[in-house]
């Protein structure tokens, strides 16, 4: 039995040394990105210093959306194979996506306030699309929470992740068609887009934020796998004692499913 749980940790490659490596890499790249943003990238001619938030806001938003897409891919794999590991991955991806999404909305509001003088700008299609996507994914938690049966919960969560994954591009299209183009089109404009220093800084910041996303996801996965292992060991120690309560929203590890049965 212990080997089953160990194999889950190693299957997810969540052993401590590998976790530490990604964590250290994240710190280095993110610190490097912020150093580049402050000391290397030039001040924006139009917005000045305020534009530096671009190196935080845009990578966070991209990582959040990427997390939703990754969740949809894991959800498809979960429905095809029935392996709860994919459900765990999808759950963690959406969880991180929602957290990063909160960050993107907050930094977006701060930037809007500094650049346009208002906390919220409805004419801004990317911000509005992002809010709608965020509102949809925020319902992922009540949905999981409302379904008691563990297996059905996992399956419905996957159906949600796939449906919402299909929704994301449609939503961006509809909002963009409906609104004027206020958002800075920084990568493909007639003037040739970002200057080299800015683009380089942005790419480093994006890599750092992606690493942060991966690190946090892996830590949460490791925590879930470890929690399952601990509750299983506790049961093995004393089969009479009532089992420790586990989170009702979080997806079950294979060990949890074993306990329920």
């Amino acid at each position: 039995m212990p080997s089953r749980q160990d194999s889950l940790l190693s299957r997810l490659s969540l052993e401590m040394p590998s976790l530490r490596t990604t964590a250290i890499a994240t710190v280095i790249v993110l610190c490097g990105a912020f150093a580049l943003a402050f000391f290397y990238a030039p001040n924006d001619a139009d917005q000045g210093f305020v534009q530096k938030i671009f190196y935080l806001h845009v990578p966070i938003a991209i990582c959040a959306l990427a997390g939703f897409i990754v969740a949809a891919i894991h959800a498809i794999r979960h429905l095809r194979t029935g392996d709860p590991v994919h459900d765990m991955r999808a759950y963690v991806s959406i969880h991180m996506g929602v957290i990063f999404g909160t960050g993107a909305l907050l930094t977006g509001a701060i930037w809007a306030r500094a650049a346009w003088g208002k906390w919220w700008v409805w004419e801004e299609p990317t911000l509005v699309s992002f809010l709608i996507v965020y509102l949809l994914y925020a319902t992922y938690y009540p949905l999981r929470y409302a379904i008691e049966d563990r297996e059905r919960q996992a399956r419905y969560a996957s159906v949600f992740a796939i449906t919402a994954g299909a929704f994301v591009p449609l939503n961006f299209m509809a909002v963009r068609l409906a609104e004027s183009l206020v958002h800075p089109r920084v990568f493909a404009t007639s003037e040739g887009g970002l200057p080299g220093e800015m683009l380089f800084t942005f790419l480093v910041a994006l890599a750092g934020m992606a690493l942060l996303f991966v690190t946090l996801s892996r830590f949460e996965l490791a925590a879930k796998a470890t929690r399952g292992q601990i509750s299983r060991l506790r049961r093995a120690l004393d089969s009479e004692a009532p089992s420790a309560p586990t989170s009702r929203i979080a997806p079950s590890t294979p060990a949890d499913t074993g306990r329920a049965g």
Partner: protein
């Protein structure tokens, strides 16, 4: 195909005999129009305001039917019967989508003339508006059938369905609002921008019909 026809006929027959959803939806829609009359303090509407009032009313009336779509299956063991029956479960999805589409058509057959009588100066935009509403109905029915199935299996039931459905319907409402606005313009309907939005509506409908068809089996597995 036989299963599809049987389920659809069952649903429509049950609705005709019990009249649980349709009268409530129609009454809800008319009452909402009256509330908008006083809430907005307007006796006539045009353009985006008219489109908004009509679409929001249809959306919330549709939620009543979507919430009740699987009540019989849930309470009377219909889901278990469907699982036991040797049928393709997408027949259930297709039948529910069509049943919901029919309910919404009936709702609009009542609500649209009332809306026109209450608020519109001319009825010239109504025929093309009916076509836009038909596309809205397909989108509402496809997403509604999937989300209602999830809601029926959850503890939160009536709470979860609108919670998940409303953000999912935002793109549909954006496109429908933008398509309906020029049709209800003060100086008579304009058709310049409408095709773009009809295309968007059709894309939304197609996407969620396909997604619903693809995932529906997994919602009923046991």
């Amino acid at each position: 195909m036989i299963a599809f026809r049987a389920i659809l006929a069952k649903d429509l027959r049950v609705e005709l005999r019990t009249l649980q959803s349709l009268p409530a939806m129609a009454l809800f829609a008319v009452t909402t129009f009256v509330i908008f009359r006083f809430g907005l303090d307007r006796t006539s509407l045009e353009g985006s305001l008219a489109a908004g009032v009509l679409l929001v009313t249809v959306l919330f009336a549709a939620l009543l039917a979507i919430n009740r779509l699987f009540v019989a299956e849930r309470d009377e063991g219909g889901f278990d019967a469907m699982r036991l029956a040797p049928i393709d479960l997408s027949a259930l999805f297709a039948a529910k989508v069509v049943a919901l589409f029919v309910y919404l058509l009936v709702l609009e057959a009542v609500a649209l003339p009332v809306f026109a009588a209450f608020f519109l100066d001319s009825g010239a935009g109504l025929p093309p508006l009916a076509a836009v509403l038909a596309l809205v109905n397909v989108g509402l029915a496809a997403t509604g059938a999937v989300v209602s199935t999830v809601g029926a299996h959850s503890r939160a039931r009536d709470l979860l369905t609108p919670l998940v459905l409303l953000p999912l319907l935002v793109p549909l409402m954006i496109a429908a609002g933008a398509a309906a606005e020029p049709l209800l313009a003060a100086g008579g309907p304009e058709y310049d921008e409408v095709w773009k939005w009809i295309g968007t509506l059709a894309l939304y409908d197609l996407t969620f019909l396909l997604v619903g068809y693809a995932v529906y089996d997994f919602l009923l597995e046991d």
